[in-house]
Symmetry: D2
Subunit: 496 residues, 4 copies
């Protein structure tokens, strides 16, 4: 979920991924059928920490009552102790990590969201974004609904609460029929767990087995860490219900539309040790690097990744090109708050604090620098300069994705379009902007080849690649409303 | 408000009033028409701190948006700094102190409660208790309402949100018609402030003027502290609306029922420097003491108050009887957490920590000990013992209220009936229980005389005196439900 | 102890006593021979909280090792829990409350101070002030001593550490011979406890018995609260040693000089339920009030104390004069941080927040207002105004001590002399300054009569009354140095 | 510094480096001649964070006074804000990161240590360990010295304070003559900065220039990050004095002994982007890997590093052997507290949380696994198992250092000897213990060749390699004392 209008302030924390990156907004994890389910959820969320670093919540159910605990910051800071887990008894639990604003008030937006419905407790954890949430909220409020959060996800709860269908499952499907956008969901009720994925399958969701227990997670790496075996992906448009005895039933309320999973998961969001859509993310990234080496070779001495996300593509580029792979940039293990800059000296200290040139290696060399993407271009500019300051003779930048020209409205934190470097200038101008001797991006067909397709099907693309192509696979109702003259007139309280 | 079912655990904090007392649950304060209204509210709430020591909240409105801040603990700990007040801009603000449990989770029950209704923001601060809240909540949840808190007060918000009347004021009155019990309310909307008092006027509420600004407060002492002038009481059943320009209109949606204000406000809850129902609380307490001296004289050397609440009645007793008033018990200014008891020695250290005998004065004397009430009797027992340990020759206990035999359901924290000493035994047995040489309570007619009546009107008592008489002036629907076989079946989450 | 030069900043906390008062700087308490001695010390210090509200420390010894815990704030906030006490095992413990600066750094100045000497651990808690500490420190530092704190008390430790005498007791006496000023000390070594009082006995110290255990405390009230029996005062110039088996030995290394205990302990510092120098503090204060009524009668309707410190003197004044005693000012139980002032209205809100007029009582009356002392006069001014605002017809101020014209250098926090109202003007001018209809102070002989003397012995006063008389009973070496041209040249680090 | 006897408890924090590693205990950094020197020190310490993660302190001097601030945890958590830096004014500052225990009490052991000497303030930051500290402390305490900390470093301060030489520099050299062991020091006095290195130069220290300012740091990477240029290493036995105007003078009080710098800095401690002893650490590690490939080849499909410390050696091994380098283990960016283990499933979840197998890559492959060292062997065992669980056909472990058979007493955190795997068994048994198909360590001569020597000079080794050889280059007085019958008899307080 995503549409918090309050979340405009930049956080003072460097959240561990690089600042100038697109950022996945959420990761979700659930398990049913293990003792102290919350402990397993905590480990699973920790493995998904790269999908959201700013807040975390876990809800559990012990057969009688629901328990919940939320916190600002990392999973390890909030859920590693026995006492934290002891607050969350039960054999069913689910949790959520999110990239979001800080502050005590913000806790009401931290997921899972929970409500006491007439049918009993209802917990929901959401990865994605509902693109008509404001439209639906306006209508619900007019009918007397009182919202606790500013999250788009809460709309689903109110739709469930006010649906007239007799069973909870019917009410849930009734609610989903009204929402548009991207959603992978893990819900809990007193009867069990429900996992589902929007009809296009934009955001990922996989199912695993841990002994007799059922596990759902955003990525397979979370299954690995908790010791679960991968079973299969939850399919686009599929809804899987698991009762408290572990019996599964699957539902397809939306038929079988053509799927459009997010291709950027392969480029950057997912961990390299995950398997997504049947392919190793690491191998796909190496294949993108190899593709890039074929499409855009460079006459150079060393292939150097911008760590850590550029490493697999750089290995692919090096192996394809025969140019040695070397660590020309060393990444600090210790990130954390942005430091105040000294008044004297220290040019670009803030970048150097995270990435430092391996001077002894780089000096006098012609280098190919591999990164996964360029968003605003500000970091690329500083990294190229750092290589030159370290004595690099030539710097050839190669990017393991096509130019990022469009914003994402499906649960990814993107700057507004006017701040995307590729939306502002062509590749030649970008090369000049970042002071590279040359710059090249992998082609969109090259990217599709790396993920195993022959080419991009223009009529009906196999992936959501809207950030590159501008072709959004759903309606964007709230965006259209916002751009129309009849503005949202709801008073929006700052009250937490 | 009061019915938090979670609030069963005793708090480890000694909250500044004595443990073995009935406790007012809330104080409320609002102001419209001053710069930095929240700073005035903070001062006003501080003056009402004796009405609720465990949590505090303030909501403000700056003409465009609502702002809110809540905290656990005293007003001074949460709202004394400029930065805290700076979070609450605007010329209209209201706040609430409550006696309640601690813990981050509890914040959602801290008032004022706030909701975004279709008509805009709505804030509510409540002193009292709605005696059919569970009954109403069950019905609202069945219709799709999602509750954020376990507070009875939230019922009013949902009733307003789902009412079909056209104006906010009509919807608000529509909601109040459905609730039974005690309520003094200060609400805020984007149009202004609404203050009202239940038809019986069980809990107090006064109006004042601060220059051109309008002020509402539970007691007049809060007007004094902020420098406001007392105008009049909000009358039982009256609803006063103040628009953003300060224009007042008054409404009487419930006609003019006979009022039944709480008589215990005069005995203990209110500060002695407040004026309530036209009488000085201090003078009434002195009058109770004088009444007690006439009804139950004692042959003694000294009149000693149990500080601080027994002081005015003791002065009245001393002046009436001619026996000298002396401070035979010294109260520490420093309360705070209950200390762990040393393993050796230190009998009753926990009482002595707060009240210590003035041995040099008491030794060898026959004393009259004056307290305002006896609840469980545990403290009286220890105080009498302390006087004997200090060498008192005789201890005659005189109580400035009738025996407390019944629980309160109108916003006062009372132990269950079976723990009230007066519900378990007669006066003679109580005297023996606390080891007093004699014990007497003021008569109920004596109490009515002290507040200015000729006697208690048995047919239609002038005050709510249910804690003494057991005559509750309203229906107690939830209590009746709880005692009936068809229990509440709502699943109640522990989720915060 | 007292000479922290860093302690210049006003604390934002209203420390529970009134701002415009002289303030005792410390209270000390020790016990040897009970299980969990630290729990008893915590209770004892709590009873001495009025002697120092800003920091607290306890040291314990379990026969093998010393343990220590210190904190900023009240005893209850730092030492009420079982886990805090569990950090301090052993049957011997001592502690200290102090009025002092806040902040983590300040902890190094919080007492008891501790050092590992060649003879083993050495703990010291000090009430008083050493008036040649800077002189001694300069010399010690030149010889290689490294100070941990800026406290005058640490000088004693270094003098002990560097003394050449063979036994610890000899080294301790050797150290005390070098220091001048006021000191009541409770020390601990691996052999037991040492309590002592400076030759003039300026600051108080009493001994008690708790079963077989020995207790030392600044005031008898601390004995009461822990359930100990008063044995006797530690005499001026006496040093009492208690070994781990509880055997006492007494020493008089300074002979038998004439004692000069602080007379202000009777006026204000001590709790009214303490017995000091054989007299009840409460009775002495009543006697001062009676003396004042005889010396300076007033034609008035009511005698009103400035609560709480003025209450006993007001009772004495009322009983002597026959004018009724009434609570015309109500003191709030809830102090705490100073609030930010609202921008509109609220004249003197900060005083009213603590003291509020009982308007219904005061209006139209001629009142005698009784307070214990006038320091800067700022509070008196506001209190008189508050009485007038409440409608008092006349305000006659009577003060239960002579004019405070001089600073104290013996462990009491006094403003510099130029800020003392009585040092700046005569009584008539003071009356005008505070806008009183009349003003009178008790005479110094009247004060001596109230404490049981026939009159003040001018040649050799029975008490230290330097704050009234300017006659300091010891040399003031550091003060003389500071006023001489050859200034302290020690670099003073801000390092904590 | 190191000898804190209290530091025995394991910390619950995973400190960011792997648990089963030797750990450098400290990093130091100083600068003289820039505005807001503390901001530069904070950045420099951040770049040295890998040398100590548990506590950090900075001292500054503004020409008049010294200021200090210390904290538990990372530099970023304590010194990144403007307000933290504002507490540390001045153009000279130095700081220290340490690996140490947590807790408020521990702050007194956090460096820089500071003392007010007769000559003025004296600040000292120490990397290393003094191996006769207990011996010296005993003597100092007997003469009256009072220690504030349990740190070996404080011994130096007391030796300086009690030295009879006339100038501070003479007293400082006098002190150093008495100490044995390893020390790189950055000291500050009101006259300027002193940097020095023990006669054997066991721990590193370099000098740089930042404009006109002088910088000292443990490693060159800290110069890079603050934008300073490397000038040269402080030589073994050299003492460099810089006055407040930036004038340098160099002293060699110990003549020119043969240097013995720590060889493990090249193997693991230093960052790969540092230059040490004239060589790139990264290149040396690659050379060790290449050496290892020549000495101990393996018939395998992939070379896989244990990230991150094994990466450079793995690249060297891969380039030398021609076997492809691949990331078969993915390291999480998010470390933090150790999680509570779920009661079901999740074998080795705690290792997987940090390192996860890249299953798709590893399955069915014969792999060479490269790590820098084996300490206890517990992590190696789990990593080998993880590779097998992921389907590796064969696992050949190669270690880029000789077997670690001996403890370090020069400022490195080593388990006691009996816990070192290589001290308990031979290589064949170690291979069996960790379940590797084969295991080999680089030879000690191979290691010397990688750092640029022809071979190890047995008579007079060019490096301190005691952890491999057991040949300690200094006396170990305290160790000898501890193992002798006449134990330390000093009472050691637990007092903080």
């Amino acid at each position: 979920m995503t549409t918090d209008l309050e979340l405009s302030d930049a956080t003072p924390w460097d959240i561990g991924a690089d600042d100038d990156k697109l950022r996945e907004e959420c990761g979700i994890f659930g398990v049913l059928g293990v003792r102290d389910a919350a402990a397993t959820v905590a480990l699973g969320l920790h493995a998904l920490q790269h999908r959201g670093q700013e807040a975390v919540g876990i809800t559990s159910f012990d057969g009688q009552e629901f328990y919940q605990r939320k916190g600002i910051g990392h999973v390890a800071a909030n859920f590693s102790t026995g006492s934290a887990i002891a607050e969350l008894p039960g054999t069913m639990a689910s949790g959520h990590v999110r990239y979001s604003t800080t502050g005590g008030a913000g806790l009401r937006n931290v997921q899972p969201l929970f409500a006491d419905l007439a049918s009993g407790g209802f917990s929901i954890a959401h990865n994605g974004n509902i693109s008509n949430a404001m439209f639906l909220k306006r209508d619900l409020v007019r009918k007397g609904a009182i919202f606790q959060s500013t999250s788009d996800t809460e709309v689903i709860i109110h739709l469930v609460a006010t649906s007239r269908y007799p069973t909870l499952l019917d009410r849930f499907v009734d609610a989903l029929r009204l929402v548009e956008g991207a959603y992978s969901l893990i819900c809990m009720t007193p009867e069990g767990m429900i996992a589902c994925r929007d009809p296009l399958g934009i955001r990922p969701l996989v199912m695993g087995k841990l002994g007799d227990a059922v596990v759902f997670a955003s990525e397979t790496v979370a299954l690995d860490v908790v010791g679960a075996d991968f079973v299969r992906e939850v399919e686009p448009g599929e809804l899987i219900q698991v009762d408290l005895d572990g019996n599964l039933s699957t539902h397809r309320p939306f038929g079988k539309p053509n799927a459009r999973p997010c291709i950027f998961e392969h480029v950057y969001f997912s961990r390299p040790d995950s398997v997504m859509g049947g392919s190793s993310v690491y191998q796909v990234r190496k294949a993108i690097g190899a593709q890039l080496a074929m499409e855009s070779p460079a006459d150079a001495d060393l292939v150097i990744p911008v760590p850590d996300s550029g490493v697999p593509a750089a290995l692919g580029y090096a192996q394809q090109s025969g140019i040695p792979f070397e660590l020309g940039i060393i990444r600090s293990h210790y990130v954390g708050r942005t430091f105040i800059q000294p008044s004297d000296g220290a040019r670009n200290a803030d970048v150097k604090r995270k990435h430092n040139a391996n001077r002894a290696l780089v000096a006098g060399k012609r280098i190919v620098l591999i990164d996964d993407s360029i968003v605003r271009g500000t970091t690329s500019l500083k990294i190229v300069q750092m290589m030159r300051d370290a004595g690099a003779a030539e710097v050839h930048m190669r990017i393991a994705s096509p130019p990022t020209e469009h914003s994402c409205f499906y649960g990814v934190d993107t700057p507004e379009r006017s701040k995307l470097l590729a939306a502002r200038m062509d590749v030649a101008a970008m090369a000049e902007f970042i002071h590279a001797d040359s710059l090249a991006f992998v082609s969109i067909d090259g990217l599709y080849r790396a993920v195993g397709e022959a080419e991009r099907n223009k009529a009906c693309p196999q992936y959501c690649d809207a950030c590159f192509s501008g072709e959004y696979p759903t309606r964007l109702t709230d965006l259209a409303d916002r751009e129309s003259p009849d503005q949202l007139s709801l008073p929006v309280g700052k009250v937490a």
